[in-house]
C-alpha cells in the first residue's frame, strides 16, 4: 500500500467535498484536513503492521480502511457545517453594521 498516494487522494477528495463555496474558511479547513490526514497516516501504518503480523485479516484491514473513508465523509460534513455557521454569523454581522451605519447617517 502506497501511503503517500492514498493520502494525496484522500486530501484531494476532502477538498473537493468541501468545495469553493466556503473559500473564506479554507485556511482553517486545510489545517483540519491536514490534522485528519496525519491521523489517517498513523492509523494506516499501524493497521498494515498488524495485518503483516497476522493480527488483522485482509477483510479486517479492508473494513478499517473503509471506516476511515466514512470518517473522512463525516469530517467533511462537519467542516462544511461549521463553515456554514461561521458564514451565517458573518452575514448577520454585515447586516447589523449596515443597519447601524444607515441609522447613524439618517439621525445625523
Amino acid at each position: 500500500m502506497d501511503f503517500e498516494v492514498l493520502l494525496k487522494e484522500l486530501r484531494k477528495n476532502l477538498l473537493i467535498a468541501l468545495g469553493d463555496r466556503y473559500s473564506e474558511y479554507n485556511n482553517q479547513s486545510k489545517k483540519d484536513i491536514d490534522a485528519f490526514l496525519n491521523a489517517s497516516k498513523v492509523k494506516l501504518k499501524r493497521w498494515t503492521i498488524l495485518s503483516s503480523e497476522g493480527q488483522l485479516t485482509e477483510s479486517d484491514l479492508e473494513w478499517l480502511v473503509k471506516s476511515q473513508k466514512e470518517l473522512l465523509v463525516l469530517e467533511a460534513l462537519c467542516q462544511a457545517g461549521v463553515s456554514k455557521i461561521a458564514l451565517g454569523y458573518l452575514k448577520n454581522r454585515i447586516i447589523k453594521i449596515v443597519v447601524e451605519t444607515v441609522k447613524v447617517a439618517v439621525l445625523a
Binding site: L56, L64, V73, C78, N92, V98
Partner: protein
C-alpha cells in the same frame, strides 16, 4: 441621503435572501445528550465484541433503535441536512460505521480483540464528529447572544 438609504436597504435584502441558503438548525440540548448517551452505550457494548453477539443482541437492537429514532428526529428538524447526513451514515449497516460494525459482529458471531479495539476507536471518532458539530451550533448561538448583549 434617500439614495444611500435605498442602496443600504437593497443590499440588506440581497444579503437576507442569500442567508436562507446558509441557515443552520440551532444547538439542540436533546440531540447533544442523546449523542453522548449513545456513544457511551455503544462503547460499553463494543467492549464485549470479543464475546458472542447473541449474548448482547437485545441491548444492541435497543441502541440501534435509539439511533434510528435520532436519525428521524434530525431529519425532521428544519435546516439540519448536515446533522441528518451524519446520522444517516452512522445508522446505515452497509457503511463501515456504527451500525456496520454491529452488523459485522452479528455476522462473525464474535470479533477478534485487535480488530474490535481498532474498529471501536473508529466508531468513537464518528460519534465525536457528530458531537463536535452539535457543539459548534452552540458557538453560533453564543456569538449571537454576545452581539445582542453588546448592543443593548
Amino acid at each position: 441621503m434617500k439614495k444611500q438609504l435605498t442602496y443600504a436597504v437593497l443590499f440588506c435584502s440581497i444579503l437576507i435572501v442569500s442567508c436562507s441558503s446558509i441557515k443552520t438548525a440551532i444547538y439542540d440540548q436533546y440531540s447533544y445528550q442523546q449523542e453522548i448517551s449513545l456513544k457511551i452505550e455503544t462503547k460499553a457494548l463494543l467492549e464485549h465484541a470479543t464475546e458472542d453477539y447473541a449474548t448482547y443482541q437485545g441491548q444492541i437492537v435497543k441502541v440501534l433503535l435509539e439511533m434510528d429514532k435520532m436519525e428521524e428526529y434530525e431529519k425532521n428538524k428544519p435546516d439540519n441536512t448536515i446533522s441528518y447526513q451524519m446520522w444517516h451514515l452512522m445508522t446505515d449497516s452497509d457503511k463501515n460505521s456504527v451500525a456496520g460494525l454491529f452488523k459485522r459482529w452479528k455476522g462473525k458471531g464474535q470479533l477478534t480483540e485487535v480488530f474490535a479495539e481498532e474498529a471501536s476507536k473508529q466508531v468513537m471518532e464518528a460519534f465525536d464528529a457528530l458531537i463536535k458539530y452539535e457543539v459548534s451550533k452552540d458557538k453560533d448561538k453564543e456569538n449571537i447572544l454576545l452581539e445582542i448583549i453588546k448592543t443593548y
